[in-house]
């Protein structure tokens, strides 16, 4: 199922199996995230998209399978190696997760202060550069409670890129944004990817927004990869999954209740009619 050549993949998932409270979240998932591209991961609610991000960052270990990030098998990494890897990954949380004790400037400076002994002047310059990139240099001294949702997400983005990561994970970056803020975040994702070449993984539901930035889309359902391709390919809806998911059809293979194993098999992406 992996679509791209392995050499180009920054993240390589093979046979990933994860059980969460007795239920299989992933059941032999395999996929590749190409280097330097924006890849969207989509799927019905509860298919473990956020869980996949947690596997990539090593916050959660899968029960089986390998998951390589830049050649390192994450589930086997020890604490030190994991922390070293995380310094090279930016993570944008759904609710921004700014530290409420600190103002905007200190939030962005936080990773630098923790991991690099920089002269104050240099640190200040780096932080202001990142804030300028997200258009919030003027808000440096505001507290997180004074920010709107869109602004908070941009600050979180500035924080995520403060170490110039090789990979950014966006967990639902469009949720709860008004159209203006949404466009600003879209523009940022695109800019960061095009100008800095940062590989991006995007977990989102808003296909219209995803379409504007993603180079490729992976559709996950029932613990497996059911479709992948460019947004345009998927939008054409060549399988039941894609038709339901991207075509906006109410009826389709998405399980109404707990997915039963054979149901998924019968209604898989192979094209059998529902």
């Amino acid at each position: 199922m992996p679509t791209d050549a392995d050499a180009d993949a920054l993240v390589e998932v093979r046979d990933l199996t994860t059980m969460l409270s007795g239920k299989a979240v992933f059941d032999g998932l395999s996929l590749d995230i190409p280097r330097g591209k924006v890849t969207a991961i989509m799927g019905p609610s509860g298919t473990g998209k956020t869980t996949l991000l947690k596997h990539i960052t090593g916050q959660m270990r899968p029960d089986r399978g390998t998951l390589r990030v830049d050649g390192q098998n994450v589930p086997t990494l020890g604490r030190e190696a994991l922390y070293a890897l995380r310094e090279r990954i930016g993570y944008l949380f759904q609710n921004s997760a700014l530290l409420t004790d600190y103002d905007v400037f200190e939030n962005v400076a936080f990773p630098l202060r923790q991991h690099a002994r920089l002269p104050e002047v240099l640190l200040r310059n780096i932080v202001l550069t990142k804030l300028q990139a997200v258009g919030l240099r003027g808000a440096a001294r505001l507290m997180p409670s004074e920010l709107s949702g869109g602004m908070a997400r941009r600050v979180a983005l500035a924080r995520a890129i403060v170490f110039d990561p090789m990979l950014i994970l966006y967990d639902e970056p469009f949720v709860g944004l008004d159209p203006i803020a949404l466009n600003q975040v879209l523009k940022l994702i695109r800019t960061l990817n095009r100008t800095l070449g940062i590989t991006s993984i995007l977990v989102a539901h808003e296909f219209a927004a995803v379409r504007q930035v993603a180079d490729g889309v992976h559709l996950i359902a029932n613990g497996r990869l059911v479709a992948s391709g460019t947004p345009e390919q998927l939008a054409r809806g060549e399988s039941d999954w894609t038709r339901q998911f991207f075509g906006g059809e109410a009826d389709g293979p998405v399980p109404f209740q707990y997915p039963a194993g054979d149901y998924a098999e019968a209604l898989g992406f192979t094209g059998a009619a529902a």
Partner: protein
């Protein structure tokens, strides 16, 4: 982990649940202690927490100490006057404060003022993914969030207890000497000849230190393991007060029996 346990714990489950909590709390203490070397890099954070946890509790501690001292003087004066021993007022007040009331009341107030704040803060940090964000920024939340608060509580408690006792003494002096007319010289000289630094003041400080450990541990643990919902945090905050109060009073009895 306790969250899904709680949903189905009818009758016999309560005991197991309680034991599991105690065990988890003990393991958490080990994690806190193990993180001390790493959290010493965050000295600034520790000092910030001493400010929040200690200095911000100062006002309530001082006011309470003053009133407790005043009431103590009134009550003991009445009792002592039955035996004609009001000369001993200073001694009795000082011993009650140093050995018992200072550490215990300070710890109870500390649990209500600072303990709940710690629990709620950490619980909300969990609920708003701030702890996960730290993990993602390769910062250990135990070393950066939990241990500094724990240490701050341990540092602040004995200091607060001594401030409480001092204010209590002031209150007792106010009522006993200025109001009820106990002789000033008698008040102090009787006290100074009967209060022992090691047996009374230092042992009382040990107590306060132990309470600091217990209250801070419970508060940080409850916050750290609170279910990440507003209901979960509220429940955890309540539990901090309830558990901390019970453990303080029980530990007080044990320590009094063995230490003094």
């Amino acid at each position: 982990m306790s969250a899904d346990m709680k949903t189905k714990a009818p009758r016999g489950g309560m005991l197991v649940d309680g034991l599991a909590q105690i065990g988890a709390c003990g393991l958490f203490l080990l994690a806190l202690l193990g993180a001390i070397p790493r959290s010493l890099r965050h000295l600034r954070e520790i000092s910030r927490q001493v400010w929040f946890v200690g200095a911000m509790s100062l006002v309530i501690i001082m006011i309470s100490g003053l009133f407790v001292g005043m009431v103590l003087a009134l009550q003991l004066y009445y009792t002592l006057s039955i035996f004609g021993g009001t000369a001993a007022l200073g001694t009795v007040v000082a011993l009650s404060l140093y050995r018992e009331l200072g550490p215990v009341i300070t710890a109870l107030l500390f649990a209500g003022r600072a303990g709940t704040a710690m629990t709620a803060e950490i619980g909300l940090m969990r609920a708003t993914d701030q702890l996960a964000a730290m993990e993602m920024m390769a910062v250990d939340p135990i070393a950066f969030v939990a241990t500094p608060r724990f240490l701050a509580g341990v540092i602040a408690m004995p200091l607060l207890a001594n401030v409480f006792s001092m204010l209590g003494l002031l209150g007792a002096h106010l009522v006993g000497v200025t109001w009820l007319g106990v002789d000033n010289g008698t008040f102090w000289s009787n006290m100074t000849s009967n209060v022992d630094v090691w047996k009374d003041i230092v042992n009382g400080t040990w107590k306060a230190l132990a309470f600091g450990v217990v209250v801070s541990l419970i508060a940080v643990f409850q916050g750290y393991t609170a279910p990440p919902t507003s209901e979960g945090v509220a429940y955890a905050t309540t539990r901090t007060v309830v558990f901390a109060s019970i453990v303080i009073l029980a530990l007080d009895f044990v320590m009094t029996a063995f230490l003094m």
